[in-house]
Structure formats: C-alpha cells, structure tokens
C-alpha cells in the first residue's frame, strides 16, 4: 500500500527525486536486522521494511518532511547510523528518514566544542578533534555510530572514567519536534552560536534525554554541540593493515598497564584507589574472553583456546585491571601518575603484565562489531551506572541466574560481567554481555532472559540499567523505578507527539512484543 501519493509527492518536492524512494528493493535494506538488538524477539518479529525512504540534507528539509508526515498521519522513523533495532519501522507504511546526508561538522577549537549533524560518526570527529589537540570519548557502541545520537543515548565509553557520561555533555541543539516545529535549545535560541546548553532560552535536555534517549520517538535532533576535551599533543600514528590496524602510542605521553591482581575484591579496591588518586584516563576489568579474542586469527582459533579447562579456570582466578595513563599536560604528569599507580598496585599485590603500546579499540576505533564474532549473535543486557559495589554484586547475581539460560546463551563459565570505575571513582559501570547462536532452536528462552529475567533482577538489586528502556517492558520496570517513569514517558510523548507518528511504538515496543507472544508469562 505505501504512504499516500500526495504525501510522497510533497516529500519528493522537498528533497528532490534522487533522495526519496518507495521501491521495495531499496526499502528492504532498511528492514532492521542490525546492531544492538539484532536477532532478539523485537528485531525478528516486529521490524518491517519501510514503505518509503528519504534522505534529507538540512534541518529545514527535516521540518518540512515531518510536517507532511504530520498532515497525512504517517508514522516516521528517523535514524542516523542504524545501530539499534529500535531504529527500524515497526508499523506498516512508515517513512524512514535516513539522516546520513546531514554530516556537517564544525569544531570551535578555542572553546573546545564540536557542532555535529546526525550523520557524523565518532572516528570522523575524533580525527578532527585530535588534529587540534582535543578529543572526545569514542563509545563502546562503536566508532561507526552517530556522535549526535550516541550523546543523547548516554554515550557509554571506557574513557568516561575521566570525562563523565556524554549524556551530560549535550549543549545547544536544534530539535525538530514530532509535529515539525523547530525548537532551539540553549544559546542557539538567542543567536547562531551553539556554545552553551543551558539558558537563556529553553533547556529541554532532560526531556530530550528521557531515560537513555528516545530512539526517534520524539522527532529529530538535527544539530548538536558537544563538548571536547584537551588531549596530549603528540600524534598517534596509524599503523598496520586490516585487520591489524592500530594507533601507535607516543609512549612519553600515553601508556597502557595491565595489572594482574589477586582477587575480584582487590580489583574493585584498586579501581577505587585509582579514582581517589584522580589519576588515569581509563580503568577497566579485562574479561577473559578478550584475552582469547586477542590471540585468535579466526573464530575457530578462538574456540580452540576458549573451549578449554584453562579458560574455565581463569574466571575465578584471573583478575586483570587495564589502566590507560595519559600525560595530558606533560611527560611529567605521566611519570607522576605511573608512580602513583605503581604504589597502589604494590599495596594490593598487583603484578604488571605485558601489553602492546598501541590502541586498537578505545581511542579512535571501537570494535563493537567484533562482539558478534564469537557466536554470530550478541546483546548486552545491562548498563548499570551505579556504585561500583552495586555493579559487581549485580554482575555476580546475573552470572548465577544466567546458568538457567545456558544454552541457548553461550557458556561464559560464570563470567560476572565487564565492569569499570567511572567518573574518577564516583560511579561504577557494569555491562553484562550475552552471546548465542541465532540458529539455536531454543531462542524463546533467550528472549525471556533478555526481556524479563534481567529486568526483574535489576529491580531486585536496585540496579539502574540504562538498557531497560529498550530491553524491558516499561509496564514492569516503569513501575519499579519510580516515580513511575512510564507515566512520565507517556505524558511527555502525549505532549510532544499527540498525533503518535514519531517512531511508534518506541519506547513501548517491548511491552507490545511481550503482549503478542505466548511464551512470556506476564506476572508483573
């Protein structure tokens, strides 16, 4: 059926015939089946090809398109780099706004911020920032994700240890509301200068962020200024040929340290101590899978190493703390921080191991795609931003509970999650990673784990899990994380999008999914 012909013609007049299509062949490429959430129930059972795909270039074009959609009451789904299964049509006859042409990037070097369109990705911003002695925090989501979308969606990165969550670094923005009206936030509301996010003028960043972003359910942010940070001044030289490419560290200013400590408790303690000392650029635990991944040249080699008694025994006995030190201001800073780190590690029995002095996946690149390598399917069910103790305790509980779901989940030998300290020790961070074979016959069990068991454990342990916005029924978690945030979401959605046309049914797609399937018991 498609969208009304009048609407199609109107949008074609806005963007030109080259940038709109209702060809089912072209639309098929936008089916979903990608990124975070691939091969989960929502992706497999709800995602549909859009009826029409549009590639706008400017804020004015986005506004005009959305006004057409609003006039004809057509559901639209905006997406910049499509790294989450939320950003695919879940209603028939939807318009998909592919924002890749909106890739303007400007950097204000003196005031240390960048202004990005939704089509700019992290590696592009990082390269331009580093040329100017600045940097941003490339997220675990990958270097290929949209800077703008990812900042609104928390922007979780190991580098946030020092710089905090990017969700707090949103500055001025241009926001096309679900009805096509344009709102300018922060200093953009007064002048064409996006240097500041708070007033004068409206500061609706809380509404924009929601729980962990709205995934296109609240219109389209077409321009955003984001904070950059001063970096050390030496160049990180790219070396190698794919797949072995890396940035060579200037070791007078940047160094890795891999310390083996005696226990998980010691690992947590050294993280706290490092935070207290306010040293380091990043501090994280090394999950054992990473070590086997690093040694293997193909999936089969990984499994030869990982499917072993040695690997099984490492879970309880191997505790590695990976620390990145950067002499931001001078070589002396690096030397000082190294001395402090050495003191801390000595106090806790840490033993320094070998590691390459280059970066493959933190500074400019981030290999999120590699997470699918081991088994063919992956999702993280947990991004706890809470105290480190809380995260560790939660991770141990998840590991225990996960045994009932293994298989179909890959046996990771009781791995209690990947955790790190955040915000100079004031916060902790836990991710709980799950891998499975998409050809497994028992995938419903995996969906129960993702959508039901994990959020129930979150509630039980009081873990503030960002992923609950798209991996749990809001009817369950919304009631538990009060005051009832589902009601607040509902009120915001009703206020901004009364016509209900902006990426319906997000963020209630999990609720809709669990209602549709018989294998999930609705006991909340």
């Amino acid at each position: 059926m498609g969208i009304p012909q009048e609407a199609y013609k109107a949008i074609e007049d806005i963007v030109g015939p080259e940038y709109i299509t209702d060809d089912p062949v072209i639309a098929r490429a936008y089916l979903g089946r990608l990124g975070h959430g691939k091969d989960t129930g929502i992706d497999l059972q709800m995602n549909l090809p859009p009826a029409c795909v549009v590639l706008p270039r400017t804020t004015q074009e986005v506004q005009a398109i959305i006004k057409v959609a609003y006039r004809y009451k057509v559901n639209y789904v905006p997406a910049s780099t499509f790294w989450i299964s939320h950003c695919a049509a879940k209603r028939p006859n939807s318009i998909l706004l592919d924002l890749k042409r909106m890739n303007d990037l400007e950097i204000d070097e003196e005031n240390m911020y960048a202004v990005v369109g939704p089509g700019v990705i992290y590696s592009q911003l990082q390269e331009e920032a580093m040329k100017r002695g600045l940097y941003t925090t490339v997220p675990g989501g990958g270097a290929q994700v949209s800077v703008l979308a990812n900042h609104i969606n928390w922007g979780l990165s190991p580098l946030n240890y020092r710089n905090g969550i990017p969700g707090r670094r949103l500055m001025a923005a241009e926001w096309v509301l679900p009805n096509g009206e344009l709102v300018k936030l922060g200093s953009l509301s007064l002048q064409n200068d996006p240097f500041h996010g708070e007033g004068p003028g409206p500061d609706l960043r809380g509404a924009l962020r929601g729980w962990i972003g709205w995934f296109g359910a609240m219109g389209v942010v077409t321009k955003l200024s984001v904070k950059l940070f001063p970096f050390q001044t030496e160049r990180l030289e790219p070396v190698g040929i794919s797949p072995h490419t890396a940035l060579q560290f200037p070791t007078n200013r940047m160094r890795w340290y891999n310390y083996r400590v005696p226990s998980r408790e010691a690992l947590v303690d050294v993280m706290y101590e490092i935070g207290k000392a306010e040293i380091s650029a990043a501090v994280t635990k090394v999950p054992i899978q990473w070590r086997y991944i690093a040694k293997a040249t193909c999936k089969e080699e990984f499994w030869e190493g990982y499917d072993s008694d040695e690997a099984r025994s490492q879970i309880g006995n191997t505790h590695i703390c990976r620390v990145l030190l950067v002499g931001y201001t001078s070589e002396e800073q690096l030397e000082y921080e190294e001395r402090v780190l050495t003191d801390i590690m000595e106090a806790y029995g840490g033993k320094l191991g070998r590691t390459r002095q280059s970066d493959e996946s933190w500074i400019k690149n981030a290999d999120s795609a590699g997470m699918w390598w081991m088994t063919g399917a992956y999702t993280s069910v947990q991004v706890t931003v809470d105290t480190l103790d809380c995260g560790v305790k939660g991770g141990e509980a998840f590991a225990e509970a996960k045994k009932d779901y293994t298989p179909p989940l890959m046996d990771d030998y009781g791995e209690p999650g990947w955790f790190q300290v955040s915000e100079l020790g004031h916060m902790g961070y836990l991710e709980f990673l799950n891998y499975w074979d998409p050809d497994d016959e028992d995938l419903e069990k995996k969906d129960i784990w993702v959508y039901i068991t994990v959020p129930k454990l979150d509630i039980e342990f009081g873990l503030f899990n960002g992923f609950n916005i798209y991996t749990s029924p809001m009817n369950m978690t919304g009631k538990a994380f009060g005051p009832n945030c589902k009601d607040w979401f509902e009120k915001l959605k009703q206020t901004y999008d009364p016509a209900r046309i902006s990426n319906i049914p997000v963020p209630w797609d999990v609720d809709e999914f669990v209602e549709q399937v018989d294998f999930i018991k609705k006991d909340w």
Partner: protein, 424 residues
Amino acid sequence: MKDNYEINNYTYDMDRCIGCKGCVWVDHIYMPNVRFGVKCPSNAYKLFDAYAAMGREKIGLALLSGDLDYSPSLLDVIYMCQLCGACDAGCKRNLDLEPLAALESLRVKCVRDGQGPLPAHKKVAKNIAEKGNRYGAPAQNRLEWMTDDLRISQSADVVYFPGCAASYVEKEISQATAKILNRANINFVTLEKNDHCCGHPLVSVGLVDDAKEVAQKNIQALAKTGAKTILTSCAECYKTWMVDYPKLFSKSYEEMDYEVLHLVELVSNLINDGALSLTKGLEMRATYHDPCHLGRQGEPWTEWDGTRGRYGILTPKKSYRRGTNGVYQAPRDILAKTPGLDVVEMPRMRENAFCCGAGGGVSDAYPDFAMWSAAERLSEVQSVAAEAVVSACPYCKKIFRDASEENKMNIKVFDISEIILASL
C-alpha cells in the same frame, strides 16, 4: 566439485551481517575526515543503504526467500557495484564473513536465473567469445603493441600476459613493461596467437561458465610454453590468474601449476637485488592509487570445503582473504626510490583505497557512475596537492585520464611501468 559461486553457500554470511557498515567506512583507525570517510564507491554515489554490501545482502536474502523478485532496480542494486572488495576488507576486520563472495554469487544467480548479466555485459561477453578481447577489436591486432625494438624470446621461463587493455588501448604500458624486462635482461615470451582476454569481464558479471572455458584455454596456452611464471602489468589479469582461476576450478592457488607476478613485484625485487637502478630524476609531486585487484584483492585463493557447526564454527578452519597480504608495499618502494619524485599518500590508501570506478562491469553498464567514481578519486588526488596519480593497472589509467579530461582537472595520469621506464 564444490561450486564456489553457489549463492546458497553464502546465506550464512549474508544473514550474519550486523549493519556496522564496516563495508562502507574507511577503517576507523585511518578515518581521515567526513569528506573522504566512505570507501564504497557504490554507496558514495547512491546513498541509500541498498547500494552498500549490508543492504545488498538483505536484498539477496529476500530474493532467495521469495520476498523480492527480479526487477530492474534489483538488477541495478546487484550490478551497480565495482566489486572492488572494499566492503570485504572492512567487514573482515571484525567478522569472519564473505560479503564479496556473496555479491559475486548474487550475479551468478542472476545469470543462472536468466536475468543477468546486463545488455552491455552481454556485448562484452560476445566480443570475448568472438574476438578474444573485450573491445571486439580484430584478434589479429592483439600483438600490435610488440614493436620491432622489443626483444621477445622464443622460449623463456616467464610469460608476459599484457591483457586486453594494454594490448589494444594502453599500449604504452605493455611496451614499457617489455622495455623494462629488456633492460633487466629478463627473457620473456608471450602467448602469441594464443594470447586472449583473461576472462575477468566474464567472472565479474556472473558468467562463470564462460569464464571457466576461457581460463581453461589460457592455462593450456601457458602450459604449452613450458613457462611457470605469468607476469602481468594489469591488476585485473593478476587477480584473475591468482584468485578467479583457482576459485573457478575449486583449487587453491598453490595447486595451480604456475606462479603469477605483477611487474611491481618483479621490479621491486630487482631493485632490492641491485639488478635494476632507478637513476633518472622525475621532478613531480605524485600519489599512488592502489588498484583493487592488486591491493586488497591481490591475495591468493585458498580453497575451503567443510561444514559449519554451532556458533558458525567451521571444520576445518578456513584461511580468510582479508586484504592483509595484498601488493601494497612494492609499488610504494619503487616510487620512493624514483629520484626526484615527491610521493604523497592519499587519505584513502592501501586496503581502504577508493576504487577508480572501472571494475565489475560498471564501466560497461554504468559509464556515468564509473566516471563519477574516477572523478571522486581524482578530487582526493587534488586534496593532497599531487600533480600526478600513478597506478598499476591499465583500466585505472584509462578512466583517470578520461575523468581528468572530462572534468578539466589537469591531473597527470601514469601507469607505474611508465614511471619505472622513464627513471631507468
């Protein structure tokens, strides 16, 4: 015998695509900026995701499942691609998947279903069948590049295989190559009257049965000479002998009874051994363009046959062609040793190089797209303030020269054989 072009062998690879667009973006470690951040010509030209490997794989799966049927736009999606392999190297940085093999096999499916190739490709195939070259030029003119001043032996261990472009259109490349061999005192022969198209235009559009016949004839012609080394100055021929022939016959390259060498490999070795010296100065700021078939696709074919188990684990283990061991350094070493040459790299280089636009049947079926790709690459040449671009493939040279003239870009275009000869 295993059919390496059967699309059903690649449904796993298509289904496991996760949409990270490693097939589109320059390796993030080398990401230069927004302007030159995309390495897939097809998706840079046509911005819809359908024109990237990630989209083509979903469309391919829908074709196999019956959700989509053949249509002009489906054939466009499948054929509007140079098969340059940028997607393949990008994908394999993180995953053990075969996007390029899947794209090639989709074309084979089109042919087997009676839907492909496109009319322009059929004309090229007819030319090859009737005249032995892609242009439809008289077969007897194929050896006209062999002028009297060249010393060509009666028998030798090395067969020079110039390919269609350097035989008919870019004769200066075959002549320069022969002169370099003469100066280095390397005896060589040609296939003479048996010299023929390598068959790459057939493989690349899905006509694998026709390509197999051509391959068989060429391999037999080589065998008749008694030589074991086939030397090319054409990246396309290089890849055809090293990858496509063994793949067509379900063998590993090591099992073929010959060795393939590109001129740049030979010359680089000769220079390193002191057998050849580049002495004459060429005062010029130049940049090197990696031909796709010499660079990221210039790794030998390793045959694999086995089963896939839980988690997609293969038994036996497979040796992936990830673009790591292509011929990248030899041409750079040669240019670096050319006196007076100021060599500068483009932002997209080696396995991330942006295709010249000529390959995969695109210059035949979509000449505007091919020319656009070449102009896009030349704008990158301009971005590093180079006055000349040097490649190692006659198809790159031709399309760059045409694009430079058409767009009045005033960029000098050379094949590396010309640079070597001028510096001897």
